[in-house]
Structure formats: structure tokens, C-alpha cells
Symmetry: C2
């Protein structure tokens, strides 16, 4: 356990990494919206501010959930990628989506319904596609 | 969609309810530690303050994840119970625990390992026990 951890509880530890209103939105954008650049995350409809976005991207990098490199196709841009650790949040994100769609039907977006209706095999295919896209071995 | 919601995205909606460092710790205590009283939640090792705890309990009630009633066995105490909506966070909590234990092995508590190693049948049994304990029909 690190000195700054609240406890050795896995739930508590996860919440110290992803327990806020914004972090998983960036992960969502990387997973399902094909977003890879700072400006793209800024444009999501929840209206994240550039300060908060910069902070969450840094925390995601420090915790090994994403990486950042120069985008070969844009000289002045950085491109963000999920790591395996970040991609492994997929089951949690699916469980979260399932729960909300059950209890807050107003949030039942077609693309989210599609997500939770995937079979385990289809989810594995999505994961394989994301691995390829983000260069995860 | 409520006026104060950021978007109709289920991930975003869930984060507006449970996206902070403390809320799911209270849910965890109700699910796995058998805690039902204000003072018991206060004693968890993460050291939640009574202000934050009172706030999170209220938000959990407003969002229909828990209920509060007078405890018949303690004249001056309130007892908190999970609702079905709260109990239905179980798959999310299991997914969260699984992820942390994979990537932060220092958090691998025996009781958490036990949780993620349960078969679907054993998880269903746990759910049934919790339903009975919390009076969920």
C-alpha cells in the first residue's frame, strides 16, 4: 500500500483513481467515440473544462490507464491511447451502463443499448478492435 | 433527462450519482461489512468525516439507492437499508474489485479475493442474502 492510500480495500483504491465525475468520461470517449485528441475530448456534450481535462489526462497517465505520444499525422498534436489497464475498465463501464439504463430509462441511448446488449463474444470483439486501434499487445 | 443532467449518456448519468470518492464506500459497507448505522460507517478505515457521510447518505436516499428508518432495536438510531437499485450496483462493485486486484495487487484483501472468485451462482446467493437482510422484494 502506498503511503497516500486510504486503505487496502480494492473498492477504495479504485475510487482514488476513477472516483470522480469526469475521469471515466474520458475513458468512455476513448473506448466508444474514437476520440484521441485533447480538443476532441473538450467537445463532448458534458462540457468538461480544459483545466479539468488536462488534470484528468495527467492522472490517467500517472496511473497507467492511458499513454500520450506525438501524433505522426499532426505535427503539433498529442494523441492519447488506452493501455491494457485502461481497456480493462470495459466490464466496469458496461456494468455502469447497464445499471443506469435499468433505473434511468431517459438515458437509454441507442449506442449504449447496443453496448449492453452485446453478447460476451461481441464484447470480446470490441475489445480486440480497441486493442488493435490503441496498439495494446 | 432532468434539467440538471449533463447529458443523456448512461455513463455520465451514473457518474453524477456515484462518481465521487466516498459514495460507493458506503454502498460497500452496506453490502459486505454488514454496517447499517451512521456511527458504523464513520468507523471505516478510510476515515470519512461526518459531514461528508451525512451528505452522501442524503444523496444516496434522494437517488433511491438506500432508505432510512428508525431502528426498532435502538430508540435513538436510524437504520439504513439498500434498495433494489442500490443492490443492483453489485456487478459494478465486483467489476471494480476485479480490476483493482489485477492492477494493484497490494489491495488484494482476502475478503475481496473471495468476492471476485465467487461463481455466478455464489454471487446470486449473496444477492439473495442481501435482499432478505435489507427487506428488498
Amino acid at each position: 500500500m502506498r503511503d497516500d492510500q486510504r486503505s487496502t480495500c480494492p473498492i477504495s483504491t479504485a475510487l482514488e483513481i476513477i472516483g470522480d465525475r469526469w475521469t471515466l468520461l474520458v475513458v468512455r470517449d476513448l473506448m466508444f467515440a474514437g476520440k484521441r485528441h485533447f480538443r476532441e475530448f473538450l467537445q463532448s456534450e458534458e462540457g468538461i473544462s480544459s483545466n479539468v481535462l488536462a488534470d484528468r489526462l495527467n492522472t490517467l497517465m500517472e496511473n497507467g490507464l492511458i499513454t500520450r505520444r506525438d501524433d505522426p499525422s499532426h505535427a503539433q498534436k498529442a494523441i492519447y491511447s488506452l493501455t491494457r489497464k485502461g481497456l480493462d475498465l470495459l466490464p466496469l463501464v458496461v456494468a455502469m451502463s447497464e445499471w443506469t439504463q435499468k433505473y434511468h430509462p431517459g438515458t437509454r441511448r441507442p449506442e449504449a443499448v447496443d453496448l449492453i446488449q452485446r453478447t460476451p463474444k461481441e464484447l470480446a470483439q470490441l475489445e480486440a478492435q480497441l486493442k488493435q486501434l490503441h496498439g495494446i499487445r
